[in-house]
Structures are given as structure tokens and as C-alpha cells.
């Protein structure tokens, strides 16, 4: 029997998230997002468990799954609304551990909300200007005393806001009160506001909810256009499968808080586990 070593490393070794897939064009860049073993519990319920996802620099990715699967919770973990119980989130290689929502935003992550969260009483333009808060700045005193910097930056904000609103042809609505707009327009405004923060990763939580097929079609084209123009990554949650399959490159399927499949649209559509998760859901709905 050989002599046992006096000291032993107590380091706990963990496997790194494998099976990461990203578009070929992005392999040479740092992934914009890396979620490693992400998990959170709410009173004993594991809403998200061992969630791993890597997104390439210019990828359009989809996050799908039945109702209550934990998709929105993943977004809340990525944007620091919740501090994860386990695991880590890396944005462009920077660990978000201990950071606030505001700090995460400054690192380049922006989102829209499933239940729209606009600044209802403010105008469309003001909503976008708030998105520009950290992009086109001036301090409080310049604002109160109306110093030259105020006029210059206000003008820049206005021009930039108009330019962004133009993505969805919304310039004419600039002076409308945000809360009075139709549902679909509000969803688009949320996207514009998020884009105003100059993100590297844009998270869209059910962007097509409440839109008619025609609007959804348009949205799909616009999502691709946004990626091409801003060269950013987009991760979207969506129940409309035609949109997901049409625009997403990599797709991640979540069920009961766990990833059950990852792959391209074709792979996901042919995956028996995914089909079962969705059919199972249908059966429940019927009862």
C-alpha cells in the first residue's frame, strides 16, 4: 500500500457547460453571454436549475418552453432582477456576480418585459430619451441652469431618439403619451427604448404577444434588421413558433426550469423530448 499524500487539494471540480452552440461566424469572438449552471429557488421550488447557455456575438437565439417553464425567470437572472442561488452569468466575459440591475445595464444587457413596463405618463420620445440616459448625458446643474451643454445634449438626444424611433417607423408618434398607444406599438416602443441603451445583448420577452399575424411577420423582419444594423446578439422568448423557427439561429428549450434541448430550428422541431414537452402541455390544458 503506497504512502498517502500528506496534503490533498480540496478543490471541488465541476464540469463546464458543454454542448454550447454558437453561429460559426461568432466563434472567434468572446460569447456575449455565458450562463453557467444558473439556478434559483423560490421557497424550495427550483424555478430554474442548472441552466447553461452560450450566445454568440451576433446570434439571434430563442428561449422556448411551456407556460411556467422558467423563461422569464431566466431573463430576471440575466438582468440581475434576481441574484442567482447557484451559478454565474458572464456578459462579454465579465461576471455579473454582486452587480445591480443598473450595473448590468451598463455592461450592455437590455430587455423588454412580458407585461409591458413603459413609462406610461410620458411621451414616446421621453421614453426613448430615458433609454439614452447613460448614452447622452449632462448633469443636473447644466439642466437647471440651461447651460450650453443642456441645449447641445438635448438636441443630440432628440435626434438620436428620432433615429431610433425610425426603426419601427414611429417618428410620428413621438409626442403621444406612451400609455395611450395600442398594445403592439407599446411592445415596439419597449424594443426601441432597450436599443437606446446601446446594448450588446438584447433580451425580448414575448415580443409578438398581442400582435396580429401581419405585425408578427413585420416584427420578425425587424428583429433580423436590428441585429444586422447594430451587430448585437438577441435572445428572445416567444410562444409563436413561426417567429421562433423563422428568425432564431440557436434555440434552447426549457421545461420545469431545466434545459431539455438545444439546437437549430430543424433539430428542435424533430426532437422527441421537445415534442413530448409540448404535447404533454396540451394534454394538461385539455383536462
Amino acid at each position: 500500500m503506497s504512502e498517502r499524500p500528506k496534503r490533498r487539494s480540496t478543490t471541488k471540480m465541476v464540469p463546464m457547460p458543454s454542448q454550447a452552440i454558437i453561429p460559426e461566424r461568432d466563434v472567434h469572438d468572446i460569447p456575449v453571454l455565458e450562463a453557467r449552471h444558473l439556478g434559483i429557488e423560490f421557497g424550495g421550488l427550483k424555478a430554474v436549475d442548472d441552466f447553461n447557455l452560450t450566445i454568440g456575438k451576433t446570434e439571434i437565439a430563442g428561449l422556448i418552453g411551456p407556460n411556467g417553464a422558467g423563461k422569464t425567470t431566466v431573463f430576471n437572472l440575466l438582468t440581475k432582477v434576481y441574484e442567482p442561488t447557484t451559478g454565474a452569468v458572464l456578459i462579454n466575459g465579465r461576471d455579473l456576480h454582486g452587480l445591480s440591475i443598473v450595473q448590468a445595464s451598463k455592461l450592455g444587457i437590455a430587455r423588454t418585459f412580458q407585461n409591458i413596463r413603459l413609462f406610461d405618463k410620458m411621451t414616446v420620445e421621453e421614453n426613448v430619451r430615458i433609454g439614452l440616459h447613460n448614452q447622452i448625458k449632462y448633469d443636473m446643474l447644466s439642466g437647471i441652469l440651461r447651460l450650453p451643454r443642456y441645449w447641445k445634449q438635448e438636441k443630440r438626444q432628440h435626434e438620436k431618439a428620432m433615429e431610433l424611433l425610425d426603426i419601427f417607423g414611429m417618428q410620428d408618434l413621438a409626442d403621444e403619451v406612451a400609455g395611450s398607444l395600442p398594445y403592439g406599438v407599446q411592445r415596439r416602443l419597449e424594443i426601441v427604448r432597450a436599443l437606446a441603451t446601446d446594448p450588446k445583448l438584447l433580451l425580448l420577452d414575448e415580443p409578438a404577444a398581442g400582435m396580429n399575424p401581419h405585425e408578427t411577420e413585420e416584427l420578425m423582419e425587424n428583429i433580423a434588421k436590428i441585429r444586422d444594423r447594430f451587430q448585437i446578439a438577441i435572445l428572445l422568448i416567444e410562444h409563436d413558433m413561426s417567429l421562433v423557427m423563422g428568425v432564431c439561429e440557436g434555440i434552447c428549450v426549457l421545461n420545469f426550469g431545466r434545459v431539455i434541448a438545444k439546437g437549430t430550428a430543424d433539430e428542435i422541431q424533430a426532437n422527441p423530448v421537445v415534442i413530448e414537452a409540448y404535447l404533454g402541455k396540451k394534454k394538461e390544458a385539455a383536462t
Partner: protein, 354 residues
């Protein structure tokens, strides 16, 4: 050049305030304003500033504060002490200059109090914040009740809980201020209103003001686009405290003697009533409500014993009127007419609905 609507609204506000001041001055100089009403001119200015500044916190920043009179108190005592000290120590005879310094000092000290109170208070939300601001208002009053200030040969003495300090007393605990020179003037109050409007309106229509409103409308969304919500709530709270302190200094220097009891919870609530009646977030409403409701008890003297009863009825009527869609529609059409846009232009934005 086409001016922005907010700019037009702001200019209109200044114009109306200036016109009101000129009319009041004319009435006073022609002797057609009663002595009693003349005596109300400075308090009106003070309460307008109080209401507008509280509206910055309650309406624009969306936090219910029940301790606004506390900052007024800090400003009032600071102003009285600074004014007396400037006269005693530096022989500053010029009352305008003394008043100016007293108001600035009152604003600064109240702003510091605002920072100290804001740090713990703004961590709380909703009802908790309201209750804690109420407590702080009362704490300020209790502390001031134990403070003694005196002036001896140009030197200022302070003591806590004991009147054993040399020289002439300026502030003696629960008995309040002593023999302060009343140097407050109506024109000074008018300038303070303009100053307040300048700060508040310019703030609202700037990057910081939008961040304050965004934090009010949707905290999570504001944070998600990178707005530091706590910072902007603090900004609104401290500016509001500063303006209340300035109003307090003017108020204090209108009386040769006053006590901390003047700035009780009732006063905070009174100012809140002005804000609520004028419309939360509506700066104009605050001005009108504060002015009318400050003179109202004076105007109602004819009702003698029934004065407070009539006052209450008027409050209810005003509330009904400002909340009536018909009247609001009428006001909106009037406002549009004034802007020269025709009666059919839709009601939108502006200083009334920031």
C-alpha cells in the same frame, strides 16, 4: 423658431406669477387691500414655495412625504440665527442682504438635513416611507425644542438642553426665537417663488427630471435602462428640502418670535392638502391651491364661528371641482385657446400633467 411646449408653459407660469405680484403690489400701494390680507402676503409666498417643493417629492418623484414642515423648521431657525448673527457680529445693516444670506443658509442647512434623512428614508417604499418621514418631521421638532443659541459680543453660542450660555438669547428651546428683526418682505417672497419655479420646472424638463419621473412610473424598467433610481429619488428629496428650508427662513423672519410648535405635523399635512387639492404632479395647481387656501380663513372672517365649517365645505367643493371631467375639459380648452391652438386641440402633456 418654434418653442417647445414645456418652455412655453414655463414662460406662461412666470408671466402669470409676475402679473399676480404686480396686481397685489398695486392693490397694496393704492390702499385697497385690507391690513389683514396684506399680512397674508408673505405666508402666501411661503406656502406656495412649500407646496411646489412638496409636489416635487409627492407628484414628480412619487414618494409620499409627511414631514415637509420639518425642513421648513430647520430653515426658519437657521434663517433667524444667521440674520441675527450677521447683524450682531458684522453689523450688516442692509436688510435685503441679510435676508438673502439667511434664506441661502436656511436652504443649505435644510438640504443637509434632507441628505441625512433621505439616506435611510429612501431605502423604504410606500407606506413605510410616509411613516418614517412623519417621524423625522417630529424628531426635527423635538431636537429644535432642546436647542439654545445666543449671541455675545459677536460670538455665537450653542447649547443642547441647557439655557446656560452667555449673552443675548436668539433661540431658547421650547420658547422659540426671541426678538428677531422681522426683515421678510413680500417682494422677497415673490422672488423666492420665481426661483422655486425656475428650479423645479427646469429640473422636470431635463435629463435628471425625466430620470426622476421614470423612477416614479416604473422602478424596474428605469433600473433596467440604467437609471440609478435611489440617486434620483434623493435628488428630488434634497432639492425639495432645500426649497422648504428657504421658504422656512422667509417665514421665520416674518415674525419677531416663533416656536418649533409652528412646524408640527399639522403644517406638513396642510401643505400636503395644497398639493393634493391642486393635483398631484400639477405645479400650477399647487400654486393656486396654496394661495387660495392660505387667504381663505382670512376672507371667511365674516362667518366668525362657522369659519372652519365653511373652510371645510370650500375644500370639498374645490376637490369636487378639480376632479370633475367637465371642468377639467373646460380648463384644457381654455389653456389651448390661450396657446392659440384652437379649442379642439387635444389636451396633452404640459406643466399640468408632467
Amino acid at each position: 423658431m418654434k418653442l417647445k411646449r414645456s418652455t412655453v408653459d414655463a414662460l406662461t407660469s412666470y408671466g402669470i406669477v409676475i402679473a399676480a405680484f404686480v396686481i397685489a403690489q398695486l392693490l397694496i400701494s393704492s390702499g385697497s387691500m385690507s391690513r389683514a390680507l396684506q399680512g397674508q402676503m408673505i405666508p402666501i409666498c411661503v406656502y406656495i414655495v412649500m407646496a411646489v417643493s412638496l409636489n416635487l417629492v409627492v407628484g414628480i418623484s412619487g414618494e409620499l412625504s409627511l414631514g415637509h414642515a420639518g425642513f421648513m423648521s430647520v430653515g426658519a431657525f437657521t434663517g433667524a440665527i444667521v440674520s441675527t448673527w450677521l447683524l450682531g457680529a458684522f453689523n450688516m445693516e442692509n436688510t435685503t442682504l441679510r435676508l438673502l444670506f439667511a434664506i441661502i443658509a436656511g436652504g443649505l442647512v435644510a438640504a443637509v438635513a434632507g441628505v441625512l434623512i433621505g439616506i435611510p428614508v429612501l431605502r423604504l417604499r410606500g407606506d413605510y416611507l410616509a411613516i418614517v418621514t412623519l417621524a423625522f418631521g417630529e424628531i426635527i421638532r423635538s431636537v429644535v425644542n432642546c436647542l439654545y443659541f445666543s449671541l455675545d459680543a459677536g460670538r455665537l453660542y450653542v447649547s443642547f438642553n441647557s439655557p446656560d450660555i452667555p449673552g443675548k438669547m436668539i433661540v431658547s428651546g421650547p420658547a422659540g426665537t426671541k426678538a428677531i428683526k422681522t426683515i421678510a418682505t413680500f417682494p422677497a417672497g415673490f422672488v423666492l417663488i420665481l426661483f422655486t419655479l425656475f428650479i423645479v420646472l427646469n429640473l422636470i424638463n431635463s435629463r435628471s427630471g425625466r430620470a426622476i419621473k421614470a423612477s416614479r412610473d416604473n422602478r424596474i424598467a428605469a433600473e433596467a435602462v440604467g437609471v440609478n433610481v435611489t440617486k434620483y429619488k434623493m435628488m428630488a428629496f434634497v432639492i425639495s428640502a432645500m426649497l422648504a428650508g428657504m421658504a422656512g427662513a422667509l417665514y421665520g423672519l416674518n415674525f419677531s418670535t416663533f416656536t418649533a410648535a409652528k412646524f408640527k405635523f399639522d403644517t406638513s399635512i396642510l401643505v400636503l392638502v395644497f398639493v393634493v387639492l391642486g393635483g398631484i404632479g400639477n405645479i400650477w395647481g399647487s400654486i393656486v391651491a396654496a394661495a387660495l387656501l392660505t387667504v381663505l380663513p382670512e376672507l371667511l372672517r365674516a362667518f366668525s364661528d362657522y369659519r372652519m365649517l365653511v373652510y371645510a365645505i370650500v375644500l370639498i367643493l374645490v376637490m369636487l371641482a378639480t376632479n370633475s371631467p367637465v371642468l377639467r375639459g373646460l380648463f384644457a380648452r381654455l389653456a389651448n385657446l390661450l396657446r392659440g391652438k384652437g379649442a379642439d386641440a387635444p389636451e396633452k402633456g404640459g406643466i399640468s400633467r408632467v
